[in-house]
C-alpha cells in the first residue's frame, strides 16, 4: 500500500503581514513559517494508518515551494513519514489552486497511491480546493472535511463535518483522497530519536517545470489589509488601570453590570 500526504508551509498567522512591492502578495521576508495546521492532522492520520497496517505501507510526503519547505518536510518525516519530495518552486505562493493541484496530480499519476491525505484548506490562502481537485484530476474517490477516519478492507469510512455540529458518514473505496479538518486526531510531537532518524530519510528534489503544464485559471489583482471599520475603543497600558477603564465602559454602555 502506498500513501501520499501533501503539506504546505505557511506563515505563522500571528505575524505582522505587509503588502509586497508589487501589491499582489504579502511580503515573504521576515516571516516565521510552519506546517499548515490542517496538514498536521493529515500527516498524523497517514502515520496512524501505516501503524494500523503493521507499518507495511510507505508514506511519501510532498510539498511544493522554496527550499524553506524542507523544514516542514523534516517535521513530517520525524512524525513518521518515510520519504519526502520537495517540488522546487520559489514562486509557489503565486500559483493558483488549479496549478498546485495539477502539479500534485502530475507527480502522483504513475505512482498508484491508494490513499492521499491533504488538509481541508491552507491557512494563508484558504481556497479549500487543492485536495478535491487532485482527486478529480486523478479520478480518485474523495471525501472532504474529515473529523473521523477508519480504514478496513480497502474502504475508508469517513466522518465528514457539516455545519452546527452535525456530521455525516460516507464510505469511500480506495483509491481515495481525503481532506483533513481540525480535530481529526491529536498530531504527535516528533521525539528526539525520531528527529535524528528523519535526517537519514530520503529527500527527493523535483523541479516544478517537470510537473507543471497548466496555466493559472485565476489571478490575484491586488492584495491589501481589510478596510478598518474603526469603531472600537483600544485599551492599553497598566493592567489595573486598563481593568478599571474597561469596567467603566461596561457600566456605561451595557446593561449587564449591576
Amino acid at each position: 500500500m502506498n500513501i501520499l500526504v501533501c503539506i504546505k508551509q505557511v506563515p505563522d498567522m500571528e505575524s505582522r503581514f505587509k503588502v509586497n512591492g508589487t501589491g499582489d502578495w504579502y511580503d515573504e521576508a521576515d516571516l516565521a513559517y510552519r506546517m499548515n495546521e490542517y496538514d498536521e492532522y493529515a500527516v498524523e492520520q497517514a502515520v496512524q494508518l501505516k501503524e494500523q497496517l503493521g507499518n507495511q505501507p510507505e508514506i511519501t510526503v510532498l510539498s511544493i515551494g522554496a527550499d524553506r519547505v524542507g523544514e516542514a518536510l523534516k517535521k513530517a518525516l520525524a512524525m513518521g513519514c518515510d520519504k519526502a519530495v520537495q517540488v522546487q518552486d520559489n514562486d509557489s505562493a503565486r500559483k493558483d489552486p488549479w496549478q498546485i493541484a495539477n502539479i500534485i496530480a502530475a507527480f502522483a499519476a504513475d505512482k498508484h497511491f491508494d490513499v492521499i491525505f491533504t488538509g481541508m484548506q491552507s491557512q494563508d490562502r484558504g481556497s479549500a480546493q487543492v485536495g478535491v481537485t487532485v482527486a478529480e484530476l486523478l479520478g480518485h474517490n474523495c471525501a472532504s472535511t474529515l473529523v473521523g477516519f477508519e480504514f478496513a478492507d480497502g474502504v475508508v469510512t469517513a466522518k465528514r463535518e457539516l455545519e452546527g455540529g452535525v456530521k455525516s458518514v460516507v464510505k469511500v473505496p480506495v483509491p481515495a483522497l481525503v481532506t483533513c479538518q481540525l480535530g481529526l486526531n491529536v498530531p504527535r510531537y516528533p521525539t528526539l530519536p525520531n528527529i535524528m532518524k528523519a535526517k537519514k530519510k530520503e529527500l527527493q528534489l523535483v523541479p516544478v517545470a517537470n510537473l507543471l503544464k497548466e496555466e493559472a485559471a485565476t489571478g490575484t489583482e491586488k492584495l491589501y489589509p481589510p478596510v478598518k471599520s474603526g469603531g472600537g475603543i483600544v485599551l492599553e497600558g497598566d493592567l489595573s488601570d486598563v481593568a478599571d477603564r474597561l469596567l467603566g465602559i461596561l457600566k456605561e454602555k451595557t446593561t449587564v453590570m449591576k
Partner: protein
C-alpha cells in the same frame, strides 16, 4: 451575465445559504437560474428557472452524481458563473464541477469590489481581489456575507433534470446528530470565551473564573475544544453554537471567520488579545491589548469587589 446558483438542502429542508446566493447574484447583476438536488416542495421561493433532480434517486449527498447534475444544468443554461455556498456541501462539490468543466474557481467570496471578487486570507488579516481568467468560472460565497432582503414569494419554473449515471462508488451511510449540549450558551446574557491564546488546559480555569466573576458562562474557540480542554457544548462558531449575549468577552481568540460567525451578533464585544492587529479587533467594541492570563485575575478581582 448569467449565474447558475447551486442550492443546498439537508434532510428535506432547503438551507438558507441558497438565498444568500440569490442576494450575491443580485449584487452581481446577473440573470439567475438555479439547480437543486431535492424535492419540489423545497424549491426556493424565487423566480427564475430551477433545474430539479430528485434526491431520492441521486442521493442527499453523492458529490459524484451531484457533479454530473450541475454540469448537465450548465450545458443547458450556459451561465457565466456557477455559484455555490462556501459550506461543507459547496466546498466539496465546487472543485469537482470546476475541474470537470476545466474552469477556474474563486473560493469564499466576501465582497464584490469594482466588479472583482474579494476574498480573505491569512485568517482575515489580508484581503485580495481575484479574477478568473476564462469566460466562465465557479465561485463559492462566504456564508453570511450576503443577506437576502427580498420577499420569499416567487415560485420558480421547474425543469426536471436527469443524468445517465445512476450510481457511484461513494456510499452515504447517514447523519450523526450534534452532541447533546451540557450548557446552552444560546440563553446566556454574558459569555466569556477562552481561545488558544490561553496556552494550556490549566489556564482555562483562569478564564472560567473570570466568567464566574461576570456571572456568565464559559465559551471557547474550536482549538480549545479540539484539544479537549473543554467540552464541545462550549464551542462558539459555525460548527459550534451561534450566540448573541448582551456581553461577549473573547480571551486569546484571533477572530477567524468561523468564530466570528457564531458571536458577531452579540450586543457588546470585548476582545482581550496581545496582538493589536488580531482580526477580532474589527468586531470588538473594546479591544484590550494585554496578556489575558495577567489581566483576567485582576479583572475578576475588581468585579468581585464592586
Amino acid at each position: 451575465m448569467k449565474a447558475l446558483l447551486v442550492c443546498e438542502q439537508r434532510e428535506g429542508k432547503l438551507l438558507d445559504t441558497s438565498y444568500e446566493l440569490v442576494a450575491f447574484a443580485e449584487r452581481l447583476g446577473a440573470e439567475v437560474s438555479l439547480v437543486l438536488v431535492g424535492k419540489e416542495a423545497q424549491a426556493p421561493k424565487v423566480t427564475g428557472k430551477l433545474y430539479l433532480a430528485d434526491a431520492d434517486k441521486y442521493g442527499e449527498y453523492n458529490p459524484e452524481l451531484h457533479k454530473h447534475i450541475v454540469v448537465a444544468a450548465v450545458l443547458k443554461e450556459n451561465p457565466d458563473y456557477i455559484i455555490f455556498p462556501h459550506s461543507s456541501y459547496g466546498w466539496d462539490l465546487a472543485p469537482r464541477v470546476a475541474a470537470t468543466l476545466r474552469v477556474g474557481q474563486v473560493s469564499e467570496v466576501v465582497n464584490i469590489v469594482d466588479g472583482k471578487f474579494e476574498v480573505s486570507l491569512c485568517n482575515g488579516k489580508l484581503r485580495r481581489t481575484v479574477t478568473p481568467k476564462g469566460a466562465r468560472a465557479v465561485l463559492t460565497v462566504q456564508a453570511g456575507a450576503f443577506n437576502y432582503a427580498g420577499q420569499l414569494s416567487g415560485s420558480p419554473q421547474v425543469e426536471a433534470i436527469e443524468i445517465t449515471q445512476g450510481s457511484s462508488p461513494l456510499q452515504f451511510v447517514g447523519y450523526e446528530p450534534a452532541e447533546k449540549k451540557e450548557v446552552d450558551l444560546g440563553r446566556a446574557e454574558i459569555i466569556v470565551s477562552a481561545g488558544r491564546g490561553v496556552g494550556k488546559k490549566e489556564n482555562v480555569a483562569v478564564i472560567a473564573d473570570l466568567a464566574k466573576a461576570f456571572g456568565g458562562e464559559l465559551g471557547a474557540s474550536r482549538p480549545v475544544v479540539d484539544a479537549g480542554w473543554v467540552g464541545h457544548s462550549h464551542q462558539v462558531g459555525t460548527t459550534g453554537q451561534t450566540v448573541s449575549p448582551k456581553l461577549y468577552v473573547a480571551c486569546g481568540i484571533s477572530g477567524a471567520i468561523q468564530h466570528l460567525a457564531g458571536m458577531k451578533k452579540s450586543d457588546f464585544i470585548v476582545a482581550i488579545n496581545k496582538d493589536k492587529e488580531a482580526p477580532i479587533s474589527e468586531a470588538a467594541d473594546v479591544m484590550v491589548v494585554a496578556d489575558v492570563l495577567q489581566l483576567a485575575p485582576v479583572l475578576a478581582e475588581k468585579l468581585r469587589a464592586a
